[in-house]
């Protein structure tokens, strides 16, 4: 028996990979055959902070938001698993509350098309081979009035951020499609930090320069949507009040989706919600592997002693 336990330390890593793949596949297959596995999601304080800040946007007498939200979306295929759901959740919220937003993609030339894909899923029907496979959630939203994608810009970091906060029309002369900013209705009333209510930077590792140059100088609320691995270094900005909240990995987007649709689970189609159950299954396998490895370690140590 002890030999068997000691061997647990030297299990070929490929068996662990296979176990994780099988465990993660179970929820996807269950969903495909019409028996989805659901787990409860409990929103954390950092996710709630982003949600509340967006809800508290100042509005005029007619109920229209007086400012815009700026989304700096610089994720691409490399961090799609985590950041797509985060961008999706925030854009869903902004469209639902009719809050206009501007998208920038500072420093990543591949990013504009990815965020465009997310926005188009909300505003246009998804058609495959002439058939509508998914209806648009917000078909009435208009480009140039409800949102603008300004696209790629360099340099990455503080230069662009400072210029956007000072005068966005200097940093960007035209939008992603080449339309001059003066011809876009939304951009005619957005000039600098005074017109931006909040900044949501979503990518694998959002630039801390947003915290220093946007919040530090202008006091603009900042929130991040980041990879789990990066969250450990950015949590410190929340208790200090430098950030209003953060969406952490798949968990953050699933939590945000739960906040958006607390009672209606059928409305939760966010990427984070889709991945949170397979993630839990995968984590269970890893926890099991860690426990087994430790049992093997202690068994070997006892034999040596």
């Amino acid at each position: 028996m002890r030999d068997l336990l000691i061997k647990l330390q030297t299990v070929d890593r490929r068996w662990v990979y296979l176990a994780i793949a099988v465990a993660c596949a179970i929820p996807f297959i269950a969903e495909a055959i019409g028996k989805p596995i659901n787990l409860s999601v409990y929103p954390s304080r950092e996710t709630q902070g982003v949600f509340d800040t967006i809800n508290n946007i100042p509005r005029d007498a007619n109920g229209n938001p007086t400012k815009v939200v700026l989304i700096d979306s610089t994720w691409d295929a490399g961090s799609m698993g985590e950041n797509e759901g985060q961008a999706e959740a925030i854009i869903d919220h902004l469209f639902r509350e009719r809050i206009p937003f501007i998208v920038t993609c500072i420093g990543n030339e591949k990013a504009p098309q990815f965020v465009n894909g997310v926005i188009e899923r909300f505003t246009q029907d998804t058609i495959v081979d002439g058939k509508v496979v998914r209806k648009a959630k917000y078909p009435g939203r208009v480009y140039g009035k409800d949102w603008v994608n300004l696209g790629f810009s360099v340099p990455w970091g503080w230069q662009s951020i400072q210029q956007i906060m000072k005068d966005i029309h200097v940093q960007y002369k035209a939008d992603y499609q080449g339309t001059p900013l003066e011809e876009i209705p939304l951009m005619q009333r957005v000039r600098n930090a005074d017109d931006i209510y909040m900044i949501f930077a979503v990518t694998y590792s959002p630039s801390e320069d947003w915290v220093s140059f946007a919040h530090g100088i202008y006091g603009t609320p900042v929130a991040f949507g980041c990879a789990g691995i990066q969250s450990t270094t950015t949590y410190r900005f929340i208790p200090s009040g430098q950030m209003v909240g953060m969406l952490v990995s798949v968990r953050g987007s699933a939590e945000y989706d739960a906040l958006l649709y607390p009672d209606d689970r059928s409305q939760r189609v966010n990427k984070g919600t889709q991945l949170i159950v397979p993630l839990a299954f995968g984590h269970l396998v890893i926890i099991f592997a860690i426990i087994m490895g430790n049992i093997g370690y202690f068994a070997a140590r006892r034999r040596r002693s």
Binding site: R14, Y17, I20, A21, C24, A25, F28, I29, E31, A32, G78, S79, M80, G81, E82, E84, E109, K110, G151, F152, S153, V154, W158, K173, E208, D209, V211, S212, F213, G216, I217, A227, G228, I229, Q230, S231, T232, R236, P239, S240, G241, Q242, V248, S249, V250, R251, K271, Q274, L275, P278, L279, G282, H283, I286
Partner: protein, 305 residues
């Protein structure tokens, strides 16, 4: 499109063959993806940045109309060229200076003229150092302020995000917030003591604090590791979802039989070409120090030339 989904799925599976062991297919696909990325990046950078912000600012008005033979055309073109520069000296100097400075980066590739690239590196470093000072102050000043917390605190409020001190401001004592503040400040002190090497760690209090600091660091590394696992899992899950839902369940059954026959034929052809033209494995080479006559005798130190 059917073929796009197939291509995407096969590329993903090809990359994942690395999990079994390193192989040529994986390396080939890796190089293809890197090449695609670099090519795309270059084109987008040219279209979005270099062309509108550098090239077009000088040359967008240069449109020579050549009407003679190729011989006279060369002189006509040169005439247009020099007259254009003569009429737009400012734009030409701007183009030339930026072009020359930018090109200096490429001297990194040559050992002989490496020093030229140091001119622009020096400019970048100087600019970066200046801004990092500002950024660090804006980023860390709030962190330092936040680390001053009352040990006997009230409930957090809008003004006091970590609770106000009960002694002095009054208010109701909140145990959990106070405990949180004690842990926070205690962690900072212990970790700083652990990294303070300027005095001897012999005092019992110092040794205990440093040991506690090390344990707290270990806990934070554990949090890092947990978040790293979540990030890697999210990346994998995004691909797994694609493979199961979009490819295996939706696309594979829809693919016509003729496509499988065609695909199988192409695969067999590739394998046949590989087997026909593969190079025989190279003979293992002997290490340099072993001659046909055997290892050389060691020369005494005094007799070495």
């Amino acid at each position: 499109m059917l073929w796009q989904i197939w291509l995407c799925a096969l590329l993903t599976l090809g990359i994942y063959t690395f999990l079994y062991s390193d192989n040529k297919l994986y390396r080939m696909l890796l190089n293809i993806l890197i090449g695609l990325n670099v090519g795309y990046q270059f084109m987008v950078t040219w279209k979005s940045v270099l062309s509108p912000k550098w090239w077009a600012l000088c040359w967008k008005g240069f449109d020579p109309k050549i009407e003679g033979s190729w011989f006279s055309g060369v002189f006509e073109w040169l005439g247009y060229f020099f007259s254009y520069i003569w009429n737009h000296p400012g734009a030409f100097i701007y183009w030339l200076i930026l072009g020359v400075l930018g090109s200096l980066w490429y001297f990194q590739l040559t050992r002989k003229y490496l020093w030229l690239s140091r001119i622009v590196i020096g400019m970048s470093v100087g600019m970066g150092a200046g801004i990092v000072f500002k950024s660090s102050f804006l980023l860390n000043a709030a962190q330092i302020t936040d680390s001053f917390r009352p040990f006997i605190a009230t409930m957090p409020s809008a003004l006091w995000s970590n609770g106000s001190p009960v002694i002095g401001t009054g208010g109701t004592f909140n145990f959990l917030q106070s405990l949180n503040n004690v842990i926070f400040v205690g962690t900072i002190v212990c970790v700083m003591v652990y990294f303070f090497f300027s005095f001897s760690h012999e005092n019992r209090v110092i040794v205990g604090s440093a040991k506690m600091g090390r344990w707290l660091l270990m806990i934070s590394f554990g949090a890092f590791f947990g978040n790293t696992v979540m990030t890697r899992m999210a990346v994998f899950l995004e691909r797994l979802q694609y493979l199961i839902r979009d490819w295996a369940i939706q696309t594979v059954p829809q693919t016509p039989l003729i496509a499988y026959i065609y695909g199988g034929g192409v695969l067999l052809l590739i394998i046949a070409i590989y087997l026909l033209f593969r190079r025989p494995p190279a003979k293992p080479q002997k290490p340099d120090y072993i001659d046909e006559e055997g290892p050389k005798p060691e020369v005494p130190v005094g007799e070495q030339v």
